[in-house]
């Protein structure tokens, strides 16, 4: 259960939002909406502990995220605007190395299975720079499938995805929620998922 109370964010001279409260429980997801520049990404980065909030606090299972530190980071997965995918490496290497950096081990069979699920079968040994923008995003989504995390924080996860991949990702999030996971995401599309809450900033 993730709760945040009285969050505010200041960028330069501008106050993007103030007094923001939110709560996401098991099986629930939060759709953060707002205009361009409203502070959606800033909110997500604050929730991911990448930048500290100007005011307010974030609690994970009733303990502040600062005190949890590594335990929170292990339970949380953040996907930002950037791919966090290395262009020179193959999708398979990207997946296994990303898992190893998190201190986990990922066997090749599981990684291949995840890549196959996202339609990257046959491209696992091709350097990522030869893939299209949508395929790069799919490599990232394969990471969602293999990394065990109960809270997903996704910034514009549907960017550059085709209709089929959007359906795959929706399915993946639905599966995650059904298993008691939580998700917070920004998107300009409406999302046909159950148990959703909308937060407008």
């Amino acid at each position: 259960m993730l709760t945040a109370t009285g969050l505010s964010c200041v960028r330069g001279e501008r106050r993007l939002f103030a007094g923001l409260d939110l709560a996401v429980g098991p099986g629930e997801w939060l759709h953060v909406q707002g205009e361009n520049g409203a502070g959606k990404t800033s909110l997500l980065r604050i929730l991911a502990t990448l930048s500290p909030p100007a005011e307010g606090e974030i609690r994970w299972h009733n303990e502040t995220v600062e005190s949890l530190a590594e335990d929170y980071r292990r339970a949380m997965l953040f996907l930002g605007h950037h791919g966090a995918v290395k262009e020179e490496l193959t999708p398979l290497e990207n997946l296994t190395l990303a898992a190893q950096l998190d201190g986990a081990t990922l066997d090749a069979a599981t990684a291949l299975q995840a890549l196959e699920r996202f339609g990257l079968r046959g491209r696992e040994d091709l350097a990522v720079r030869f893939l299209s923008a949508g395929q790069k995003r799919r490599v990232l989504l394969a990471r969602l499938a293999v990394r065990k995390a109960s809270l997903w924080i996704l910034d514009e996860p549907f960017t550059a995805l085709d209709v089929k991949a959007v359906a795959m990702l929706s399915g993946l999030i639905e599966e995650h929620l059904a298993e008691g996971g939580m998700a917070i995401l920004t998107s300009h599309q409406s999302m046909p998922l159950p148990n959703g809450k909308v937060l407008s900033i």
């Binding site: 502990t49 980071r73 930002g80 791919g83 966090a84 290395k86 490496l89 950096l101």
Partner: protein, 221 residues
């Protein structure tokens, strides 16, 4: 520990895939060092005198070349964010990256230096001290350089700023590194200089990853 090995492996793999970056720094080192004997002419006494200084200055500049690229690609593609959010402490991952940087830029310099030293008419003993001094000094260059690279991350015109920031900090390494070979040639023994270089290295091993980590966190906010 496995994540540290993973990041060293990843960075070495990346260096293999873009060899030109590593080779540019190496060829720069070889050419700069080789220009001096060509320009000065065959005066072996003078060459022996300037050899340690020339090789060390060239090593500093060659290390500088790749330094701006230490964290920049990771920052640009979002990998750095994932490293900060990884359950593995960022300090360990940063240490891994510095080790990988030394293996790709520092270690080749150490291995090449004795070959290049022959051009300066250095004898076997002096070449040995040169290698030993570089072996202690080049990790120091990578460690100090990482702090500068992290501080200038995402800054416009960061390359020039990085040189201005890091080169003064390289001065102690230069003085004791070049000094070790000079004092060996003049018969005073290199022990003192090498000990000081090792002390600096020990200090940097403890301090540099911590400072780099703090600078990276600020850069990402």
């Amino acid at each position: 520990m496995s994540s540290v090995i993973a990041i060293i492996r990843r960075d070495l793999l990346l260096a293999m895939r873009r060899k030109s970056e590593v080779l540019t720094a190496l060829f720069f080192f070889i050419i700069v060092v080789s220009l001096f004997p060509l320009g000065i002419g065959p005066e072996s006494a003078l060459l022996r005198k300037i050899a340690p200084g020339v090789i060390w200055v060239a090593a500093l500049l060659a290390t500088m070349l790749g330094l701006a690229r230490l964290f920049a690609p990771d920052h640009a593609d979002g990998t750095l964010e994932q490293m900060v959010l990884s359950p593995t402490p960022l300090g360990l991952l940063v240490t891994g990256k510095i080790v990988a940087h030394w293996i790709t830029t520092g270690l080749p310099l150490v291995l090449l230096a004795p070959v290049l030293g022959i051009q300066f008419d250095l004898d076997a003993g002096a070449l040995g001290i040169l290698v030993l001094a570089l072996l202690l000094g080049t990790p120091l260059l990578s460690l100090i350089g990482a702090i500068g690279a992290a501080l200038t991350l995402g800054v416009r015109g960061g390359g020039v700023l990085l040189s201005l920031l890091v080169l003064p900090l390289y001065v102690p390494a230069l003085i004791f590194g070049a000094g070790a070979v000079e004092s060996h040639i003049s018969g005073l023994g290199a022990g003192g200089h090498l000990s000081l270089l090792a002390a600096l290295l020990a200090l940097a091993v403890f301090f540099a990853p911590w400072a780099t980590t703090a600078a990276l966190r600020i850069a990402l906010e």
